[in-house]
């Protein structure tokens, strides 16, 4: 454990918790943007420069904006209703605790978590690009198709229906 990791982890956890508990939806979306930024810092700290910057570009620059727009389009910016938690909140919390306990137990007891870090590798953008164009070209194309389909689908779903 070292200091930068502790700071990053604290930021992520605090922001994520805030996003899930704050009453105001816009505050929630801003908090989740902070959490995304913290994760980007974690990636950068783990020497994954390209992924970290992509995380900022996609999540803070696009997804957070999208969420904020959705909040405003559904009038979520107004003061929320009395109870923000659903009727079955107790069971949800129970499931969550169980899941976290299982995961933590697995992490603490697995051989992988006792592994020492491997030597630092310099991953250049060129390497990533080469890999994307050779070894991972099929997934890349599929992702491109998926994104196009999702974009068209999203536009069609969100489009106002013509009144006949």
């Amino acid at each position: 454990m070292n200091l930068p990791f502790a700071i990053i982890a604290a930021v992520i956890v605090a922001a994520a918790t805030a996003a899930m508990t704050l009453r105001n939806l816009v505050h929630s979306s801003l908090a989740v943007a902070v959490a995304f930024g913290g994760l980007a810092l974690a990636y950068l700290y783990l020497d994954a420069q390209f992924v970290g910057l992509t995380q900022i570009l996609v999540y803070v620059g696009a997804v957070a904006i999208l969420i904020v727009f959705a909040v405003l389009l559904t009038r979520g910016g107004e003061p929320p209703e009395k109870c923000i938690f659903s009727a079955t909140w107790f069971w949800g919390l129970l499931i969550t605790v169980a899941v976290f306990a299982t995961l933590a137990w697995c992490v603490m007891h697995s051989f992988a978590s006792r592994r020492d870090p491997s030597d630092k590798v310099e991953v250049t953008v060129k390497q990533i690009g080469d890999a994307l164009m050779t070894k991972f070209v099929l997934p890349l194309e599929v992702i491109g198709l998926l994104l196009t389909a999702a974009l068209i689908g999203a536009v069609i779903i969100a489009m106002r229906e013509e009144k006949k």
């Binding site: 999540y59 929320p80 938690f85 976290f100 990533i128």
Partner: protein
């Protein structure tokens, strides 16, 4: 505790926060945010395993995260479009009130 375990625990905790939000909050947008957090927790796992794995020059972890981010972006776009469509129909984003299949 090794650093890898730290990252994995952080990831697990983030996943739990996202899950808690998705299961307990009423608002559909918050549920979507929770799901995004869970996806991000998985991404953190990939990067951590890639960095602490035996052969990081393979780039598999990074590639997975890049594709995962792309999928998450698509998911967010479609999910929010759905929420807006539902809001237009029911005039609410409260999950407890959206309980009938028939319009």
């Amino acid at each position: 505790m090794t650093p890898l375990a730290g990252y994995l625990l952080l990831s697990a905790f983030l996943f739990a926060i996202g899950l808690a939000g998705a299961l307990t909050r009423r608002n559909a947008i918050i549920v979507l945010i929770g799901i995004e957090l869970m996806l991000n927790a998985a991404n953190l796992n990939f990067i951590a395993f890639w960095r602490y794995g035996p052969n990081p020059e393979e780039l598999t972890g990074i590639m997975f995260v890049i594709f995962s981010i792309a999928v998450a972006a698509a998911e967010a776009a479609v999910g929010l479009a759905l929420i807006i469509a539902i809001y237009r129909h029911y005039k609410t984003t409260n999950m407890d009130e959206i309980n009938s299949l028939k319009g």
